[in-house]
Amino acid sequence: MAQTIAEKLLSERVGRAVEAGDIVVVPVDGAMATDATAPFALQAFERMGGERVWDPERFSLVIDHATPAPNERISTLHTVMRRFAREQGVRLYDVGEGICHQLMVENGHVRTGELFVGADSHTPTYGALGAFAVGVGSTDLAGVLLTGKIWLKVPRSVRIELTGTLPEGVSAKDVVLYLVGRLGIAGATYEAVEFAGEAVTSMSLASRMVLANMVSEMGAKTALVETDGLRLPGGAGAPVLRADPGARYRREVTVDVSGLRPQVAVPHSPDNVRDIDEVLGTKVDMAFIGSCTNSRLEDLHAAARVLAGRRLAPGVRLIVTAASRHVFNQALADGTVQALSDAGATFITSGCGPCVGTHQGVPGDGETVISSTNRNFRGRMGNPNASIYLASPAVVAAAAAAGEIVDPATLPLAGEGRVA
């Protein structure tokens, strides 16, 4: 029978043909938990009677959600994680190494065709590699640590075909914001979102990660991106992973990206998406480029292209975090960090930072934030009295320079308008 990518991959993992709706118990190839989810997971693991992690090589702990620790309570939770890692021989990424999803991909802890379970809702990011990656909570993760398995319902799939060529200045973030707006915040609940098409084939791994990352904002269980044209970290091609012709989809959507405008999600939901033209002139107080969605090297490059030779608008602060120390070092070596810092950007530790509202840039009452992150729920960045707009790194950088939302393509050339 013709299979979706999700059906194909899960059939492979369980060793028999399965189809949407089946309940399966699947062996897990890799797992991960962060400082937001690991403390409860490790506690649950002990309560289950767990003594040894099923396979320490396959599990990673990442301290990224509140890093370095903003207070003694959180620091003590980090201590618990470090102790567990030492005792169990489990890999731990400590303060400043980077954001969990970047680290899993960058360091080869997840591969095409694998089944990965992460205790973080943006785990579907690894669908960019053609991995079936699901986000779970702490106790499910503890179950994986104990058994090396997880139960799943084989999801129905939504197929997104992206045709055409992205216009200059329009990125994967604009595509996925458009899709979240079109499908809605629950538009793919319990489902797999599968991406294909010529506009995907030409995308970098980093851009594919942006697409896969935000299926979480459609309620999806996972994302799967066809691997045609994919270059893995290190430059090798990826194994071919495609849906069968004639596979059954719950919904098929085709989008020609050639005419797409930059997209902005307006408060207070990621599916409140508008063409940038409808929100031009919205004043901003704070700008943030970071998160598992948009803080890889190509994102920092996009921001630097906009900001090189400019200064931040008076009264605007721009906070930047690189997805990992590796990304930061690359951006340091090629002058990107210098360009952004010269423009007035403030770099913070590689990690989740302001995206989750714990520390390192909580907005004030009545302030407006433009951010390259994935969620703008009320209170998301730590203050329910702030308003958050979501956009691409280029649009965020342009807003930081102009003090209001502007189309990066219409910014005057850097240096123009400067008073001598």
Partner: protein
């Protein structure tokens, strides 16, 4: 645990986990701390009004957003016996079952705030006793029902040692 009744506290659609418990409060192992901030920005007085056994009744897509299990823990610790919604976000639904918080999807319900609600999880029935109106809950997969019946995934795995027995 399969039949409960309590007063309904009505919530809207798309209540995300940031609203249930803000990210800044989640980094703790103290469930009481979590309950103290339950739905704080949504309705600061709500947690004061919840009595043990009460029922949260929501609209569509309850619990969307992050994977934080702190959300159902806060709800359970505040004394809520069951969460009903027209639909749930998937991670929240799994998390709730896994920590032993009863949840039921009731697609057609029109239960108002303050109604006296009786829920029979085994039968899959929900009754608004004030209006004399009854609703059907969507059947959950057998493995989930077994985990919930065991009181959560910790006691379930302690007892079974794995998932093989159930699906």
């Amino acid at each position: 645990m399969t039949a409960v009744s309590g007063k309904a506290h009505r919530l809207g659609d798309n209540i995300d986990t940031d609203r249930i418990i803000a990210g800044k409060y989640t980094k703790t192992l103290d469930a009481g701390d979590l309950a103290a901030h339950l739905l704080e920005d949504y309705d600061p007085e709500l947690k004061e009004r919840i009595r043990p056994g009460d029922v949260l009744v929501a609209g569509e897509n309850f619990g969307c957003g992050s994977s934080r299990e702190q959300a159902p823990i806060a709800i359970k610790t505040a004394g809520v016996s069951v969460v009903l919604a027209r639909s749930f976000a998937r991670i929240f639904f799994r998390n709730a079952i896994n920590i032993g918080l009863a949840v039921a999807e009731v697609p057609e319900h029109e239960i108002p705030d303050g109604a006296r609600v009786r829920v029979d999880l085994l039968e899959g029935t929900v009754v608004d006793e004030d209006a004399g109106q009854s609703y059907r809950a969507t059947r959950m997969p057998a493995v989930m029902a077994e985990i919930l019946e065991a009181g959560g995934l910790v006691p379930y795995l302690k007892e079974h040692g794995g998932y093989e027995a159930s699906p």
